[in-house]
Symmetry: C2
Subunit: 141 residues, 2 copies
DNA sequence: ACACAATCAACAAGCTTTGTTGACTACCTC
DNA sequence: GAGGTAGTCAACAAAGCTTGTTGATTGTGT
């Protein structure tokens, strides 16, 4: 994710206004690699702006997702997690502590539809996301 | 997924009773490759057993997931989809029609944590699931 | 400064999923 | 086969996450 200053410019370039609340969301996410939920971001923002509503945080996060600056990750069927790291990477979810870590993996190749049809014909693959599940080093120790 | 008869035996072997409602869920899922939501399964079961509740369908589906006979797939953050195909495969989600298809892909290798730490040390990877996104042949045509 | 468009906070509702309840039913043992 | 027990049944309600709506307010470009 870019710096809050860059995001400010990006928002303005996209006709989105940069309010103090949005700026606080930018700052709360910057450099974060813990894949927080909207609720966690909300709590973090509230430490410095106690009146911000969860709704406003969702709006800012969704705008960031729409602009491609933040990835929305559905790891279980609970709350969506927001990932400000938009470089190509995948995720590892620990079965014990539930923590989501950024990982690098080899790109998988799509071979064929399970029915047997060849996929070259007409299919377009835009993205692939991988979720590894297992136990992290801390929980294995 | 096994046949309804096999599932009946499996449920009994696990001290789970096989009620007519559960059997109807088995039959509704058997051979299905459309990754239905619980609601869709419910509607299908209701065609022949109009009194079955959505709650009961969820119970049967969750039991199947717990026994490893059905996979729960979170493709977006909407309803969970249930996949009776428990052989190793991945999923392709069409951006246009939303359909989820079974696909075969090369297994990705987990290389490293993005921080740089080597993952061999202490990490245990149990499973990896891949979601490809793009446009299917039908929607490209 | 002004006008306009957009966001704000608060409330409430939507959607998916699970907890709870008393009645009922399948299964195991005899 | 019959009875006892454990587990399931359907209906209701509620929990958790996310989004719609509202009137008031605010930022932005001119």
């Amino acid at each position: 994710m870019r710096t809050p200053d860059d995001l400010t410019a990006l928002f303005r370039a996209n006709q989105l206004k940069v309010t103090p609340q949005r700026l606080a969301v930018f700052e709360a996410l910057h450099g974060d690699d813990t894949h927080p939920t909207a609720e966690v971001v909300h709590a973090r923002v509230r430490e410095r702006m106690p009146t911000v509503s969860l709704r406003t945080v969702y709006q800012a996060l969704n705008d960031l997702v729409d602009l491609g600056e933040v990835r929305a990750v559905s790891v279980d069927n609970g709350a969506v997690r927001f990932d400000p790291n938009n470089s190509g990477h995948d995720h590892f979810v620990c079965r014990d502590c539930g923590r989501v870590s950024d990982v690098t993996a080899s790109r998988p190749r799509l071979v064929a539809a399970t029915g047997g049809e060849v996929l070259d014909e007409g299919y377009t693959v835009d993205t692939s996301e991988i979720i590894f599940r297992g136990r992290c080093a801390a929980c294995n120790a």
